[in-house]
């Protein structure tokens, strides 16, 4: 992501003005990014081998039937023409319908958003709740047993792909001890406990395979730097407790990089959900992308990619808005 900030050299902007400026600027960014992403994905999907006609007509399709269907779906038109038609429909709020199922792309995407959103939120919370205290303590006890153990574990986890952790969790917690379900999804609206049981394993697998060890390593490193600053020595000299210094003087300035990374990680986690949702049989966006890609359901795929692009831009805009709160020296450039 891009972070347009200056530190300390300008007079601090009023928070309200800063937010509005950032929103205006991000609105332009959003449109530009969406155009680029949609064009890029259109080009890439066009390069994919395979033909959606066979997913609709089956193996018995004759070349004449395939040609007729191409005409019906406008697949026989040039790429720029198809892209233009898609953009025109998009402006009218129509993302098209699935080639295979006939379901509206908007419905297909929106009915899967809650699952993916919940999975990512819970994973992020797990990662932050576990990584932040561990990183603070490891930095505070730098070089000691806990620091070494935690650093080793983080190194191991960051090397483990999500599917390895997912399979291991399923074997241990679903098959061996039968504590949690291996597959399936209970919506929050159906049952709170059922939902919690169905989200725990996938969320842990997603959190442990990337965000948690990454947050730990970054925050530990920043905390070690911060703890060597003069103002920390001053705080110690004033007799403030270690706990107070860590929480009030060291953590906040060390968190800027962590917040940036959190925004970036959400984009990466959207990619991770493709694997996790397939393994745990969850009805989310990642699963939709997998099945649409396999069937060359390009219209649905395009809609899902567009949504992810919008989500990434919005998340990073939100991250930018958090900087001035964390560190008053940081303000957005109002250009």
């Amino acid at each position: 992501m891009t972070v347009s900030t200056t530190i300390g050299t300008r007079r601090a902007a009023r928070p309200g003005r800063s937010v509005m400026t950032a929103l205006r600027r991000r609105g332009g960014h959003l449109l530009a990014v969406l155009l680029l992403v949609s064009l890029g994905s259109f080009l890439m999907l066009d390069l994919l081998p395979g033909d959606p006609s066979y997913a609709i007509l089956g193996d018995t399709a004759t070349p004449e039937q395939v040609a007729a269907l191409h005409h019906e779906l406008n697949l026989d038109r040039a790429l720029p023409v198809r892209y233009g038609m898609w953009l025109e429909d998009l402006v009218r709020g129509d993302l098209g319908h699935s080639y295979r199922t006939g379901q509206s792309t908007f419905d297909a995407v929106t009915e899967r958003i809650p699952t993916t959103l919940e999975l990512i939120i819970v994973s992020q919370l797990l990662a932050l709740v576990l990584a932040v205290p561990a990183a603070i303590y490891a930095a505070y006890r730098r070089g000691r047993v806990f620091d070494r153990l935690a650093a080793g574990a983080a190194f191991g986890l960051i090397s483990a792909p999500p599917f390895v952790l997912a399979v291991a969790f399923i074997f241990l917690f679903a098959v061996k001890f039968r504590l949690l379900p291996a597959t399936g999804w209970t919506p929050l609206s159906d049952s709170l406990t059922g939902n919690a049981r169905s989200v725990v394993l996938p969320a842990f697998a997603l959190a442990l395979s990337g965000p948690l060890p990454t947050y730990f390593r970054l925050l530990r490193s920043d905390m070690i730097d911060t703890l060597q600053q003069d103002y920390i020595s001053m705080a110690k000299a004033k007799g403030l407790s270690d706990r107070y210094i860590l929480a009030r003087h060291a953590l906040r300035p060390s968190s800027v990089s962590l917040v940036t990374l959190t925004g970036v990680q959400i984009g990466r986690m959207l990619g991770g959900t493709v694997v996790i949702e397939t393994l745990f049989a969850l009805p989310g966006l990642g699963r939709l992308i997998t099945t649409s890609l396999a069937a060359r359901d390009l219209i649905v795929l395009q809609g899902a990619v567009l949504f992810i692009a919008v989500a990434c831009v919005l998340i990073n805009t939100a991250v930018d808005l958090v900087y001035p709160i964390l560190d008053p020296r940081v303000h957005h450039v109002g250009r």
């Binding site: 066979y54 004759t62 199922t101 006939g102 969850l282």
Partner: protein, 481 residues
């Protein structure tokens, strides 16, 4: 016992409840069996038995078939399943604008006559002794006529006369069905609810069975079946069936248009080594489409046996005659077991001086490459079948759109014609044994392994007496405790 909630794990999500949009009867389309039922049903020996249709009788020359429906069967919306409803469904399959995947199966139907509310006659363009078996497949799934009108969402709002009724469906999550209280067979179904849950990853599906998240699933690979067999809480019904994995040889042009080269490739296959390397000694070796327990099986059908010297001599003869080295492309699905197979074939055929280039294909590309004849050798599965017509003939009959090899053999076509038109069972056996011989000697494909299909399920579940390898009748399934 009566009652209970069953969750079935499937390998993927159902595309649609529209009978025109499905092909085959794999577990992916089992929800349609539960919602629609079928007009007729197939026995394990290939014979047809009544179901929603009480009988189906041919004319003496097999160009007309008359179906008598059971009276009083109603769709779940209360409307009557009668001859008009059957005709409306078949008409829709034949309507080109619908693009039904069953249209080719019904291509021989020239006219339908409604004799009375429960009787319909099908007029065919040519004799077909196995025409009734079509109604054990997709054309036997009858949707309420009110759902066949333009604008109705038949993809996700089916109305059938089957044992279950769709309650809710969240794609890629769960499909819940409940008992049809007006099901035409009294006392059935046993289950209160039936849930289909797509679990695409095979390993996870086995784990879900073991953990009890799902109580029934089908598998088509030996590893999963072995894994389920090892669990004392699970029962496994698995068997090998007709069909299986084959290597399609595109005989339209190039070296593969020469029977000597095709025969040499067959002679270069060391099936024992393949069995040990790829199947852990459990491969059901195939010499043709039929398994050893099929009446159509012929042990000495002429399929080439492993003979490196003879293969090498044939390739040498071809090369000296044409001046060209035999170099072929092998197209496989881009999945680990197929790649492993391709590498093994590459090494085996290297020993007979045939150079193989492996091309991994994305599954979506396979159909396009096959249909456009843009391949030389390709690995493909011929799904398990009981009745050879049309599920075997469509792959090899000269004019069939699925004749991917492009080989046209008048003798083979004649054997299929004989099997399709002969009313005498001994003649049919003789005809399909001739099919086996013709396939073994003309070699449009190389056979190596019959497919395995197994159902693994909780030991507390009974599947009923009439289930076939690729079809489960859900009204017969129940819990024992």
């Amino acid at each position: 016992m009566q009652g209970g909630d069953l969750t079935v794990g499937t390998s993927g999500e159902l595309v649609s409840f529209d009978p025109a949009k499905i092909s085959g009867f794999g577990t992916l389309v089992h929800p349609l069996l539960a919602v629609y039922d079928t007009l007729l049903r197939l026995n394990a020996d290939g014979t047809v038995r009544p179901n929603m249709a009480a009988s189906m009788k041919p004319s003496t020359d097999f160009t007309m078939w008359t179906m008598q429906l059971n009276a009083g069967i109603r769709f779940s919306d209360g409307s009557v399943l009668d001859a008009a409803a059957v005709k409306a469904n078949i008409d829709r399959h034949l309507d080109k604008s619908v693009k039904s995947q069953s249209a080719s199966l019904l291509a021989g139907v020239t006219e339908m006559t409604i004799e009375d509310p429960t009787t319909i006659t099908f007029h065919l363009s040519s004799p077909d002794v196995a025409f009734d078996s079509l109604f054990t497949l997709q054309p036997g799934l009858i949707a309420a006529p009110s759902t066949l009108v333009a604008g109705y969402d038949l993809d996700s709002k089916p109305i059938g006369a089957g044992p279950f009724v769709l309650q809710s469906w969240q794609r890629d999550s769960e499909m819940k069905l409940s008992r049809n209280t007006d099901y035409w067979q009294s006392g059935l179904p046993y289950l209160d609810t039936l849930t289909f849950r797509p679990v695409p990853d095979t390993l996870t599906r086995v784990s879900s069975l073991k953990s009890g998240d799902i109580q029934l699933s089908s598998f088509i690979d030996q590893t999963s079946i072995d894994s389920a067999t090892d669990d004392k809480d699970l029962a496994v019904d698995a068997e090998y069936g007709n069909g299986g994995d084959v290597l399609f040889l595109n005989s339209r042009s190039g070296p593969l248009s020469d029977l000597r080269v095709r025969t040499a490739l067959a002679q270069g296959l060391d099936l024992d080594a393949m069995n040990q390397v790829l199947f852990g000694g459990k491969m059901n070796v195939a010499n043709g489409p039929f398994t050893t327990d099929s009446p159509y099986y012929v042990a000495d059908n002429g399929y080439p046996t492993f003979d490196v010297s003879a293969a090498k001599a044939a390739i040498d003869a071809y090369q000296s005659e044409t001046g060209q080295k035999v170099s072929l492309e092998l197209a496989v699905n881009n999945v680990p077991d197929r790649i492993q197979l391709a590498q093994l074939l590459q090494s085996m055929w290297q020993a007979i001086d045939v150079e193989i280039t492996i091309t991994p294909l994305d599954p979506a590309e396979v159909s396009a490459r096959f249909s456009s004849a843009n391949f030389q050798i390709a690995v493909r599965n011929i799904p398990t079948f009981t009745e050879p017509e049309p599920l075997l003939s469509r792959w090899f009959y000269g004019s069939s759109p699925l004749n991917f090899s492009g080989l046209v053999s008048p003798q083979l076509d004649a054997a299929f014609d004989s099997g399709r038109t002969s009313s005498d069972s001994a003649d049919r056996v003789s005809a399909y044994q001739e099919v086996s011989r013709q396939l073994a000697t003309t070699l449009p494909v190389l056979w190596y392994a019959h497919g395995v299909r197994g159902y693994a399920h909780s030991v507390k579940l009974t599947l009923g007496p009439d289930n076939l390898q690729n079809v489960l009748w859900y009204e017969e399934i129940g819990f024992t405790s």
